[in-house]
C-alpha cells in the first residue's frame, strides 16, 4: 500500500499497473480489486458525480462500477488504456441512472454537505462545488476527468465521444471560469 501511496502522490496512475491489476482480477484474485479500487476510486467517483450531479447516485455508481469490473475482468482486452475501459463502465452506468430518473436533480447545498467524511480544506470543497455549479456539463466532465484520471485529452475525447478540439476548448473554458471564480473568492 505504501507503494500505491507513492505512485498516487507522484500524481499519475501508471497504466501498466492498472492493466496488470485488471488481468489479475480476471484470474479471480480479489486482492487485486482492493488495490484497483484504491487507485481509481477518485476518478470513478468524480467522473460519475460530474454526470449525475448528486452524491447518493454517485456512490451507487461507484459500487456498481467495481462490481462490473469484477464480473467483466475476464473479457478485458489490453489496449494500453485501462482507465478508459473503467471509465466507460462508469459513464454507461451513470447515463443509465440518469435515464431512470424522471427529474434531474441539481447539486443542492445540503446534499453536498451530507457527503461522508469530508477532510478536504473547505476552500477546495468550495472550489469543487463551484465547479459543479458554474461549469457546463461537458466542461465539468472534461476538467474532472483531466484532473483525476490521468487520461490525456485525446483519450477523454474518445470517452466522451467529442472531437479533440472541442475537448481542448471546453478544458480551457472550464479553467478560465474556475480561475475567475477563484480570483473573485480571493477578493472577498
Amino acid at each position: 500500500m505504501l507503494l500505491m501511496t507513492l505512485l498516487q502522490e507522484a500524481g499519475s496512475v501508471s497504466p501498466c499497473l492498472t492493466d496488470d491489476l485488471i488481468k489479475r482480477l480476471a484470474t479471480g484474485e480479489k486482492e487485486a480489486l482492493a488495490e484497483l479500487y484504491s487507485e481509481t476510486r477518485a476518478a470513478v467517483y468524480g467522473f460519475s458525480l460530474s454526470i449525475v450531479k448528486n452524491t447518493a447516485d454517485a456512490e451507487d455508481i461507484l459500487q456498481d462500477t467495481y462490481l462490473k469490473i469484477y464480473s467483466s475482468a475476464g473479457s478485458y482486452k489490453s489496449k494500453g488504456n485501462p482507465m478508459a475501459w473503467i471509465l466507460t463502465i462508469t459513464k454507461n452506468l451513470s447515463l443509465m441512472k440518469l435515464r431512470e430518473k424522471s427529474r434531474f436533480q441539481d447539486l443542492e447545498d445540503h446534499e453536498w454537505e451530507a457527503a461522508a467524511t469530508v477532510e478536504a480544506p473547505s476552500e477546495d470543497r468550495q472550489l469543487l462545488q463551484a465547479a459543479m455549479c458554474i461549469l457546463s456539463e461537458e466542461e465539468r466532465q472534461v476538467i474532472l476527468l483531466h484532473a483525476l484520471s490521468g487520461m490525456k485529452h485525446r483519450e477523454i475525447a474518445a470517452l466522451l465521444d467529442l472531437a479533440l478540439p472541442t475537448v481542448l476548448s471546453k478544458y480551457h473554458r472550464a479553467l478560465k471560469k474556475l480561475r475567475k471564480y477563484l480570483e473573485g473568492a480571493d477578493a472577498q
Binding site: 507503494l3 499519475s12 467517483y45 461507484l62 459500487q63 467495481y66 441539481d106 467524511t117 472550489l127 484532473a147
Partner: protein
Amino acid sequence: MTDREIEQRLKQAVEASVPDVLESVMARCDDQKGQVIKMPKKKNIFMKVAAIAASLALVLGISLFAFSYFGTESVATVVTLDVNPSIELKLDKNARVLEANALNDDAARVLSGMELKDTDLATATNAIIGSLLKNGYLHELANAILISVEDEDSVRGAQLQERLSREVDDLLSAASLNAAVLSQYVTHDVEALSNEYEISHGKAALIEQLLTANPSYSFEALAGLSVQELSLLMDNPKNEVKSVSTTGTASDSAYIGKDKAKAIAFEAAGIVEADVFDLDVDFDYEQGILVYEVDFDCGRSEYEYDINAVSGEIVHSRVEEESNYNGNAGNSNESTGSNTGTVPVQPDTATDIGEEKAKSIAFAHAGTTEAEVTRLYVHTEYDDGRLEYHVDFHIGTTEYEYEISAATGNILDYDMDTNDDDYDDIYDDDGRGSEMQPSSSADPATQISEEEAKRIALAHAGIAEADASGLRVTSEYDDGRLEYQVDFRVGSTEYEYEILAANGSILDYDKDTDD
C-alpha cells in the same frame, strides 16, 4: 493560481469526499460468485511476494532513469532528432545503431523503407537528413533541427553531441541550406513530460528549459510548436536558454519579418521610427500564436505591440502614458519609467469621472437604473497604473459586472451571467426546464441556427463579421437545453456569447480587453 494547481485542488476535494464502499463491493462480489475461492496458503504468499517484487521493480524503474531506460539491451546512448518529425536512435557503445524509432507519423514517413539497424551513426545521420530534405521537412522556411543526446557517460555524450552537430551542419550546408542546428545534452529524466505531451525526450527537455527562462509560457502551448518556432522564441533575449547550443539561425522567412512588424506598430502608434528610442523586436508566443513583440519608447510614453507573425494583425497593444500622473507637480518622483503600481497622492479630478458617473455608465449599458438593481457593489482598482471602477450588481437572478476606466469612462470589460445553474430548481415550477433530455417545449419554428446565433452575438457586440477574427460557433446541451457558444476577437478584445438555441436569447456574454 496555475492550471495545475486548480486541478490539484479539485482532485484533493474529490479524493477527500469519495465514500468508502470497498467492503460493500467485496461482499457483493462474494454473493455474485456464490463462493469465496480459497487459495491454498502457499500460493497466496507466493503471489503476494511476486506482486511486491513486480511493484518494487517498477519503482526502481522510475527512480533509476538510466537503468530502466537503457535496460538489458546494450544501449549506451539515445539520440533524438526533432524537426517536426521526431526520430529516436538507440546506439551501442561504439555508436552503432541498435534501433531506429519513429516517434510520430511524420517520422514514420521519413524512416519508411530505411534499414538503419547495425549501421554506424554517420551513415544513419546521412540517410535521415537526406530523407528529411527529400520529404520536404527541411527547407528554406523550415530549417531548424534539434539534436538531443542522452548518455550514461557524460563525456561520451558530450562528444557525440558535438560530432553530430558538426555532421548535420555539414550535410545541410552541402544541400545549400542555411540551417539552425540546435543541440543539447539531456541530463535528467523527462520521461513523464515526454509521455504526457507525446513528444520526444529532446523536445521535452528543450521546452522545459524555455519554461525555466520564461514561466509565462505553458508546456501545453509550446509542445505544439515546431523546433523552428521554438528556436525563434529562444532568440528573444528574455528567453535565454544556456543548455542548448545553436549554430546558424532559424529562418523567419515564413513570417512577415521584423521590419514589417515594426512598420505596422509605428503606423498604429502614429509615429515615425526616427522619434523612438529603446526599440526592441523579438519573437514571442502569445494567446496561442507566434508574434513579433515590438517595444519602444516615444516622448514620455511606452509602447508595446504584439503582432501576429504570419498575418501582421495586431493581437495586443499597450500604451502607457506618464502624463496622467501629474498630481504632485513633478518633483521627487522616484520611478524613471512608467508609473506602474505607483498610486498618485492627489487624483487629478480632470481625469477621474467619479463613482456616480461610473455607476450610471454601467446601468445605462445594462438598460437599467439604480433603483432596479440589488446587491450593488462598487470599488476601485489600479490596473497597470490606471484607475478603474468596478461596478457589480444583480437584476433578479442575473449578475452584471463592469470595469470602467476612471479617466475616460470607457467600458473596459463587462460580464453578464444569468446564473441559471444556481437558481433553476428553486424558481422553476413546472420542472421542465431542468430535465436532462431536450425540453419537449422546444419549438422547431423558433429554434435558431448557428448562423443566426452568430448574427445575434455580433449584433449585440456592435461588431461587423468582417471585423471579427477567430470567429467560432459550437453547440452543446447544458441542463437539457441546446445552447450555442459564439467566440470571436476584435483586436485585443475577446468576446464570448452563450445563446439559447430555442429562441435566440442571450444567456451569457463576456467581453475581455487585454491590458
